[in-house]
Symmetry: none
């Protein structure tokens, strides 16, 4: 399990961690029931402050993605995968909506947008397939 933290890209570190953990769960890289690394260990590995990791973990517990097994550590909850997958797809729909609205407002015709979309989709799908 490898996480990539970019310290200075504007997105808060704890947010990056949250996203990547959710992503890993959605992808099946982390499976329900699995223990995740301890606060201190992950902090050392990512070269960030334990408190920052702690904050990410706290939020993930609040969203019932992780749960404490006291004295043992944190584990992925049973319902985590479903939650992460659906949250993610909803997020994509919202982003799509925003981009389209902005495109239309900026004077692009629906057909223009469709063309841009298809071009990008083909390009990305090809890269993905490689």
């Amino acid at each position: 399990m490898k996480f990539n933290i970019d310290v200075d890209n504007g997105v808060p570190i704890f947010e990056q961690l949250i996203r990547q953990i959710k992503f890993a769960i959605a992808e099946g890289v982390l499976v329900p029931g699995e223990m995740i690394p301890s606060t201190r260990e992950l902090a050392k590995q990512l070269a960030i402050n334990p408190n920052t990791v702690q904050r990410a973990f706290t939020e993930l517990q609040g969203e019932q993605v992780l749960e404490v097994l006291r004295g043992r550590g944190l584990a992925v909850t049973a319902g985590a995968k479903k939650r992460c997958v659906s949250a993610r797809q909803q997020l994509i729909v919202e982003q799509l909506e925003r981009v389209i609205a902005e495109g239309l407002r900026s004077g692009l015709e629906p057909d223009n947008l469709r063309n841009l979309f298809e071009r990008q989709l083909n390009k990305s799908a090809r890269q993905q397939g490689e």
Copy 2:
């Protein structure tokens, strides 16, 4: 020239102002050579802090969208329109690319994405047309 500022939507006010000025230029509402209102006047009109307006103007000068005409004020530069139009569309293409890539990575099939896209496009186009 009317700008809409939403004080509490997360996007910094100076950013909103920058975008809307660029938008107005891209649309032809503001044409090269045209003077724009003074910092103080715009601030009063939008009921925001003059510092905030100033900051937007400073950035727009840095991007050579606005230029100072000494003693007279700020004006839209000659090359502003081209810059704004292309910047805008490029931004949309980038966003589109990002959301498509994320959708594919999160397990959506190209056809799923296409459907989502069409649905949103229709919805947004209808709203736009109203």
Copy 3:
């Protein structure tokens, strides 16, 4: 607006703050739209660390009880009162449920519990009324 923090009663300080703010809103002491003291000021006033206050505020934002008015401070949201009142009553029902269950498990008869309940209710109602 006075909050009472008891540093060593087991309940985390940030939790005490959260409860008391929600309580104040539920009571109508803090009304929607009202600004609450700044992080630093409240921290100084309560003689606790600004980070601890910050944490409470962050959680209250997450629960949509407070909202940022950027550069100006935090305000009670429009829907805060309803949320706080209902959250509170739900909490009371849960506590009641727990106490009753424990009483029954510990061998008290329903009538015993009813008597205890009535006695306490009368006592508390009298105090309240004073």
Copy 4:
């Protein structure tokens, strides 16, 4: 003698053990003078850490509910039953008092509380009876 330990319900395991031992004494399942299982045996039986059992025993000795009979083990003290029964009911009264006071403070009428109480009591009594 069977104890139920729920590792992940927030209540510390040693606390659960303490409560259940007191409960068993209050109920007469464990009688004064009776020996209780050794730390190791109980730990193995409940699949928990011996340290945790030890901690519960230490506290119960401090409350004079258990006493060491040197060379033989731990036994229920003579005065244990009385202590456990009264402690338990007192605890329930206190909890009842707290929840009633909070209910009144949060704007519920005595009759509201009575209704909530009766509903919960019936529900719990039914479950208990099953």
